[in-house]
């Protein structure tokens, strides 16, 4: 934070006045389209320096092209994930696991966690996910011909499945969602308070499960072994906190952007309604076009990256919402084509940190859209209302009021 906005080693001509937080189109606004706003970066050089591109105002290099981002994300020796972003908000220094570990330690924890989140494991959850979607939608239908999709469907749906997965009660859902929101999008004071609350909650849960295992995720974590030894308290915390933060509202946001698109593009809505088999492929295109996460890496050594003098300690941003609109990677990237094939987008990252929850997230999104489209008749954005979107480290949508007749 105390750093100069632009370090001396950055050539002035490589500085660009762009930020995922403060550039035009990134602010909280009605009917915003932050994804279109960042797509313009493909007219700019492939790499530049942004003086203010993290929540706490740090500068980062910005890598815009998909090909270059792949280079960064695969070279974990040069571009490390070890940043302790979460702990540093508390003035502490422990990694979220596996997110902030590098190989080979990273792989040890991935091998531990992968089986719990594998595609086959997620298939088993399908009936529960579907049942949850149907209950919520039927309740909406019975009550009205309009609803706030975020509040009435996307959040309760995604968050309750996630909490169920972790073995947590649904009762405190709103508290959890509030923590998540403050942490990802709040001001510093709120952010620290939320971080403390989450850590306290996870530590307490871990202690409870140590005393009395309950066959849920935390019980698994406290009983698990890596390299022939049990996990330390700090490791259990690192895993618990990460899952909590990574899984809480990401899926709801994706569903929100997807249904907003379908409400505004009636042809696309018609297509998926009449041919639900297309929803799987379409949801990949929507993930591409409305990607939400910026990945940050830190340089472990000085390196020249296509003429950019990256120095040890510099931050490097690989924003999925930028790479997934790269015209060299996708034909007509700003056209949303629900039948797009060979869609190798990176909404769930690229390289070893590929989203652990991606299979669960994908099933939730597809099932959510299937059940919504098969139950709710032709819907549009309610007259006089406007969805509020915002940019930042994680893009989001706050409200989405739909109506149908």
């Amino acid at each position: 934070m105390a750093c100069k906005p632009v370090p001396d080693h950055v050539p002035p001509e490589m500085v660009k006045d762009f930020s995922l937080f403060t550039s035009p189109g990134m602010e909280r606004m009605p009917n915003g389209d932050p994804h279109a706003a960042v797509a313009c970066l493909h007219d700019a050089p492939p790499i530049f320096y942004s003086p203010n591109n993290t929540r706490d105002g740090r500068g980062t290099w910005v890598i815009t092209r998909a090909k270059d981002q792949r280079r960064v994300l695969q070279d974990t020796a040069t571009f490390s994930s070890h940043r302790s972003i979460f702990a540093s908000a508390l003035g502490e220094n422990w990694p979220m696991i596996p997110l902030e570990l590098d190989p080979p330690a990273h792989g040890v924890f991935r091998s531990l966690l992968n089986p719990l989140f594998s595609p086959k494991r997620v298939m088993v959850l399908e009936p529960v996910i579907r049942e949850r979607a149907i209950t919520l939608i039927d309740r909406i239908l019975a009550a009205s011909t309009s609803c706030d999709v975020m509040k009435d469907f996307a959040f309760p749906f995604a968050v309750s499945i996630f909490l169920g997965f972790l073995g947590l009660s649904d009762k405190e859902r709103d508290t959890f969602v509030g923590w998540g929101r403050d942490l990802l999008h709040g001001e510093n004071v709120k952010r620290t308070a939320a971080a403390l609350a989450i850590v306290g909650f996870i530590d307490e849960l871990a202690a409870m499960r140590r005393k009395e295992p309950a066959g849920d995720f935390m019980s698994f974590a406290v009983g698990a072994q890596v390299n022939g030894r049990p996990l330390t308290d700090e490791e259990v915390r690192g895993i618990g906190v990460l899952l909590f933060v990574a899984g809480l509202d990401t899926v709801a946001t994706a569903i929100g952007f997807d249904l907003a698109h379908l409400a505004r593009n009636l042809k696309d809505q018609q297509l998926l309604r009449s041919e639900p088999d297309r929803i799987g492929l379409a949801s990949e295109e929507l993930l591409r076009a409305y990607s939400t996460v910026q990945m940050i890496r830190v340089a472990t050594k000085d390196i020249d990256f296509d003429g950019a003098p990256i120095r040890k300690g510099d931050y490097i941003s690989c924003a999925t919402m930028i790479a997934n609109r790269d015209p060299e990677e996708f034909d007509c990237p700003n056209t949303i084509d629900l039948a797009r094939e060979d869609n190798r987008h990176t909404a769930f990252a690229h390289g070893p940190h590929r989203c652990l929850g991606s299979h669960l997230a994908r099933r939730e999104i597809v099932i959510g859209l299937e059940e919504w489209l098969s139950r709710i008749p032709d819907f549009r954005i309610k007259g006089g209302t406007a969805p509020i979107t915002f940019g930042g480290h994680v893009f989001g949508i706050e409200n989405l009021i739909l109506e149908w007749s």
Partner: protein, 82 residues
């Protein structure tokens, strides 16, 4: 045709499996099993779709394997085969 599996590049996205679960087999963690894959002629389109959907470029279509594939690729470039 044959698909060359670069196991070390696989990061478990399971996009190949999502396209063709009978062709691309995953281990318990959800990563591709090692070993190249011989694809029967009737499965070629599906298999090449699966390979082309791998975000990590871990699945390489062995273009030397047979001429059929050349035809397939050629047609696609013209928007022929869908």
């Amino acid at each position: 045709m044959r698909i060359i599996v670069h196991k070390n590049k696989c990061q478990g996205h399971a996009r190949c499996w999502a396209q063709a679960p009978d062709i691309f087999n995953l281990d318990d963690e959800g990563y591709i099993l090692p070993g190249d894959i011989e694809v029967a002629e009737r499965d070629e389109l599906l298999a090449s779709r699966g390979a082309r959907s791998c975000p990590e470029r871990a699945l390489e279509i062995d273009a030397t394997a047979d001429a059929l594939l050349t035809r397939l690729l050629f047609n696609q470039a013209c928007g022929g085969v869908k």
